[in-house]
Symmetry: C3
Subunit: 432 residues, 3 copies
C-alpha cells in the first residue's frame, strides 16, 4: 500500500515529474531496428515518457529522434521528406539533421542567417542488437549504454520483441519481479492441483530440470530474500526442494526499468538468458521489450520460434496484442474450468489481463500486501528513494555504472541449514 | 426549472453524494437471473451507482456481488475462477466468498493468518422472479425487498426485461410518470389529428376499452391531481370523458426509482400490471427494468411476446438497444410525415430519442415547465427533500415500509362534479 | 510566436470569449442550400461557434436555425416534426417558427397563454448562391451580407463546396493567406528541384501563363508587402520575374474569416475568382467553404469538375474528407520520394496534413516565425486588436461596410525599380 502522493510519484513519467526525471537519466529502448529498415525510409511516430517524437534513419544510416512538430509553424515532421541526411518539413521545406540542427531553410531569403538560430529537439540514439535506444536527459550526463549481457553480443545471438501494454510501466515491472504469481496466473489446473498424473507427465517430458519444475509447482508460497546492490535489487525466491534442501531462483531488478529472470523452462533448456525492459510510452502505456539471448552460439530456429511464441500474438504489422481488455483477452471459461488457471491463451495475455485489469494506473492506496509482495515493496521504495534523491540533487549512481549490470540469473539447490548468503550468490551472478 | 445545485443534487449517484446515499437505502435490480444461468458459471461485470462490481453465482447457487478489484494487488476479479463457493483471483489465487470474506490465500505461508484480516466488499443480493436485487447501503439498515405486487408471484406470472439507457436515471423516471407525453411521442398522425376515420377504426378494433382510448386521444392537455403518500406520490391524470364526466388514470411513483402505470392498452387487455424500475448504473447510464405481471394465471405466450416487443429490439446477446443516438434511432422521416408522430419505430426508442436527446444529464436550469409538468415538479421536490433529510440524519421512511408499495393502478370514469377524492382513490389502489 | 494569453484570445470562439464575440458580429456560412432541399424536409444538426443548433426549411421555404433543445424539457428538436411553418417537438408537441416563437403548445389547457411567454433562440438566416448564412450576434447590430463578388451573382456562376477540417479556424485561415507554402506543400519533386525538363514541359502544356508559373516556381522565398485596408489586409507577394522585374501576386484577407486568392493556375485559366471562408464549428473544428465564380458567363462543366476536384474527396453523403489523420492522409512514401513533395494526393489533403498535424489548437508559444510569415503576423495582430477593441466597446467597422469587400485579386509584372505601390494596387483590386 502506498499513499496517494507516493503512488503519483512512482508512476508519473512526464518531464519535470520526479520519476520522469529519474527515468530521463537512463537509456530507453524505443524502436526495433526493423521499424526503420533502411536509409531514407519513412519516418515513424514515437511516444516516450509522454513526449511526441518522430524517428527517422538518415542517408548515412544513423537514427534521429526529433520533436514531432517543426519549430517553425508546428507542422508534423512525421509527414516530412526523409532526404539527404535530414528530415524536411512538408509545410515550408525547413530541414533538420539527426541532431536537430536546421540545415536548410529555403523559404527565407538567400542571405538570411535565421536557420542558424533555429534548432529543434534531437535526442541521441544508439543502435545495438536490433534495438534503438534513446536518451532524453541532460546531454552532459549522457551515460554509456546499459551493461546487460545481451548488449553487444554477435548477430544472431539475441532475439527481441516489442509489445504494447495499456498500463503504467510500474505495473508491468511489478509483474516481472513477482516470481510468485507464476504458480497461479501461468499455471494449468492439474499443476495447480498438483496431481500425481501431472508430475508423472512432467518427468517423462522434461530432460533436464523436471525436479526444478516439480519444486516450483509444489510450493505455492515461496519466501523472498532480498539484497540491495549497486544495480538495483537481487531477489532470491526460496521454495521447498527436498526435506533438507531449498530451491533458490534468482531474479535481478536493474534500476529503473529492467529485470533479468530465468530458471525453470518447460523445454528443458537453460542456456538462454531472458530479460524485460519496461519502456514508458506515457503514464498509461508501456512498450515491453522482451529479450532472449544465447552466449555460446546463435539462437536456433526453434529457439527463435519459442521466443516469438513467448511474447504473444499481435495484430499483424503492429505491436498491438490481439488479446485485449476489449475482447476480455479471449478468455475461454470452459478451459478455465478444466485446463488452464485463467482460460486465457498465452503467458503474455495472462499478464495483460492481470496488469491492465487493475486500471491503467492502479490505485495502490487500496492494496493489501502480504509477505509474498516483499520484493515489490523493496523495489518501489528504491525507485521512490532514487527519484527523491534526484530532486535533492543526487544523481542515480546506477546510470554511471553499466558494468554493474553484467549479470546472470542462477538456479540453486542448497541445504536448508545454509540460508541465503546474498554476497556469495551475487558473486555467482556477476559476469566477468 | 431547477438551480444548478438542485440539479446536481437530484442526479449524482456516487457514494457520498446526497442522492447516491438516498438510493443506497433501497434495493436495486442489477441483473436478470438468466445472466448467471447456473452454479459456478462465468462471472459478470456490474456497474451500479458508479461502483465497479463483479457478480457471480457460487456452487450453492447463491449470487455474490463483489468489488471488481481484488484487495491484494487490484487485479480484476471478473477474470476470476468461479469454483467451490468462491471466486478466486487469477493473479495470486486469493479466493472470496459471496460475503467478501477471503477464504483461501495460497500465496502466503501455511501458518499465516493474513487471510482473516483481508475482506473485500461483498454486497447482499436477493433473487426473485428472475431478477437479482442488490443493496449497497449500511448493513444495519438493510430493508426488506420492496412490496411491489409482482415480487413473490409464482413462476410464469411475471415477465421482466432489462435495457440500457444512456441518460441519467431521473430523465427516465420523469418520462415514466409523465402521462401527457403519450399523446405526442407515442402517437400516430391520424390519432394526433383526431380524424373520424381513426376513431372508427379504433372502435372496430378494440373489444373492451375503445372509449377509454378515445378519451385519452381526444384530450391533449390533461390535468394532474397529486397526492403525497407513504410510498411516494399518487398521480391522477384527468381527461375529459363525456360532457359530464372525467376519465381518471392513476400512476404511482414509488420513492425513489420505481413507477407503476397501466390503464389503456391497445390490445384491449387490462389484466396485466406494468411497472418500471430505473436502476442507476452511473450518473450517465440507466438500466431500465420493465416488468409485466398477471395475478390470476400465468402469462400466455402472446402476452409474453407483447411484453418483449414492448421493450424494444436489442443487439443480440446484450441489453443495448439497436436504436441509438448514433443511428438517430433509425428515424424514418417519410413515416414521420404521414404515419407516426416521430417516424421512430417502437415505444422504447421513442422514449430514448426524447430522454437521451436532452444530453446525458439534462440542464434543468434552462427548462420552461408548464402545468402539465406538475407531477414531475412534485416528484423532484420529494426526491430532493428526502436526500436533504437523509443528509441531516433522517432515514427515508419508505425503505422501512415495503407494505406501502402493494399497489394497483386503476382507470376511473367519474362525474365531473365529484373532483379528485385522493383518499378514496388511494384506497382503491391499495392491495390487501 | 504568441503568448499563451494571445493564443487563447485568438482561437476561442465560444459565446462570451473575445474572439467569439467578434465573430458573432459577422455572417457565417453554415449550410449548403442542398442540405435542406425542399420545404418541410428533415431538419439538420448544426454546430456553429460551439453552439448546438438545428436548421430546418419551413413550408414557405424559409430557413430557420434554432437552439437544438426545446425550451420546455430540453428534448432535441432535431427529431422534431417539420410541419406547417414550424418545427414541432416530438416530446410534448410544442411548435416553433423560424424566429423561435412558440406558435403551438397543445399540452397546455386551451385558455393558457403560456406559449406567448416561451421563446427559443432563433437566429436569422440568409440564403444566396446555394449557401445559407447565419448571424448569431446582437439583433440590433445585424449587418448586411458580405459584399464579396460572388454573393448575388446569377445562378450557375458560382460553385461552392463545404468540407470539415479538424483544427481551429485560424490554422486554416493562416494557410489560406500563406502564399509561400505552395512552393513546398503543393509542389512536385521536379518543380521543387526546378529541373529544365520541368520547365520545358510547363511551357508546352500551358497556353497563357507559363511565365507566371515559372516565376512562381523559381522563387522559393518570396517577399511580402502588406497594406492595412478597410476590409482587412491586402497581401502582395513579390517573386523575382526577369532581371529587371518582379512578379506580384495579390491575396486579400477579409476580416474576420475570409480570403480571396487567385493568380496562377495550371489549366491556364484566369477567369475564375476564388475564395475561402473559414467557419468555426467549435474551437477544434472548421467548416471550410470553398467558392469559385465566373463573372461573364456560367461555369462550364469542366470548370465545375475542376472545382469539385480542387476541394478533395469526401466520404459519400457527408462533408468528411476521406483522407484524415487516422489514415495518415493516405500518404504514399514512394511517391513522396520521387513524384510529389508530400506523397499525399489532393491539395486539400496536403493542407489538412499540415494544419491538422499541428494539433487541433496549435501551440503558438513554440513557433519560430521568419520573414515569410509576415502576413500571418499582421493578420493575427489585426484579429487580436479587433477582439480587444470590441471588449472595450468599439464595434468592428468591417461589419458595417460590405461594399469594401468588393474585391478582385490581380497578377502583375512590374519593374523592380517601382516597388510596391499599395494605393495603386488596391485601386486595381476594387470592383465598382
Amino acid at each position: 500500500m502506498l499513499s496517494i502522493e507516493d503512488n503519483e510519484l512512482l508512476t508519473r513519467v512526464g518531464r519535470g515529474k520526479p520519476m520522469g526525471e529519474l527515468l530521463r537519466r537512463f537509456w530507453h529502448p524505443v524502436l526495433l531496428s526493423s521499424e526503420l529498415p533502411k536509409p531514407d525510409c519513412p519516418p515513424v511516430r514515437v511516444r516516450l515518457m509522454g513526449e511526441r517524437l518522430v524517428a527517422f534513419r538518415d542517408t548515412s544510416g544513423r537514427v534521429g529522434l526529433l520533436a514531432e512538430r517543426c519549430p517553425h509553424r508546428r507542422a508534423s515532421l512525421f509527414f516530412g521528406r526523409n532526404e539527404e541526411n535530414g528530415l524536411r518539413c512538408i509545410y515550408h521545406g525547413w530541414k533538420y539533421d539527426i541532431d536537430g540542427r536546421c540545415v536548410d531553410m529555403p523559404s527565407e531569403p538567400a542571405g538570411s542567417n535565421f536557420a542558424s538560430k533555429v534548432r529543434t529537439t534531437g535526442y541521441p540514439c544508439r543502435e545495438t542488437n536490433g534495438v534503438v535506444f534513446a536518451y532524453l536527459g541532460p546531454p552532459e550526463l549522457e551515460p554509456e549504454l546499459p551493461g546487460i549481457e545481451w548488449i553487444g553480443l554477435p548477430e544472431g545471438h539475441v532475439y527481441v520483441t516489442k509489445r504494447y501494454e495499456f498500463a503504467n510501466w510500474v505495473q508491468g515491472l511489478e509483474g516481472g519481479i513477482d516470481s510468485c504469481h507464476s504458480n497461479f496466473l501461468h499455471t494449468t489446473v492439474p499443476a495447480f492441483r498438483r496431481t500425481s498424473d501431472f508430475f508423472d507427465g512432467l518427468r517423462s517430458r522434461l530432460q533436464f530440470d523436471a525436479k526444478l519444475v516439480e519444486y516450483f509447482i509444489n510450493d505455492l508460497s515461496p519466501r523472498f530474500c532480498l539484497r540491495d546492490t549497486d544495480y538495483g535489487v537481487m531477489i532470491g525466491t526460496q521454495r521447498d526442494a527436498e526435506a533438507d534442501s531449498f530451491y533458490w531462483r534468482i531474479t535481478h531488478w536493474l534500476l529503473p526499468h529492467a529485470n533479468i529472470f530465468g530458471g525453470v523452462r518447460d523445454d528443458g533448456s537453460t542456456r538462454l538468458g531472458r530479460g524485460l525492459i519496461w519502456s514508458a510510452v506515457d503514464d498509461h502505456t508501456t512498450a515491453v521489450f522482451s529479450v532472449s539471448w544465447a552466449l555460446e552460439s546463435p539462437l536456433t530456429e526453434s529457439e527463435r520460434d519459442a521466443c516469438e511464441a513467448f511474447s504473444g500474438a499481435v495484430v499483424p504489422g503492429t505491436f498491438m496484442p490481439l488479446q485485449t481488455m476489449a475482447n476480455d483477452y479471449l478468455i475461454d471459461r470452459e478451459r478455465q474450468a478444466t485446463e488452464t488457471f485463467t482460460g486465457i491463451e498465452s503467458l503474455q495475455a495472462q499478464d495483460l489481463a492481470a496488469q491492465e485489469g487493475m486500471g491503467s494506473i492502479v490505485d495502490r492506496t487500496e492494496e493489501h500486501l502480504g509477505s509474498s509482495d516483499s520484493a515489490i515493496i523493496r523495489v518501489r521504495r528504491a525507485l521512490i528513494r532514487a527519484a527523491k534523491d534526484l530532486m535533492e540533487g543526487t544523481e542515480p549512481p546506477q546510470a554511471a555504472s553499466p558494468a554493474s549490470q553484467k549479470l546472470r540469473t542462477v538456479d540453486l539447490i542448497r541445504p536448508r541449514a545454509e540460508g541465503f548468503d546474498g554476497e556469495e550468490i551475487e558473486a555467482l551472478c556477476r559476469l566477468r
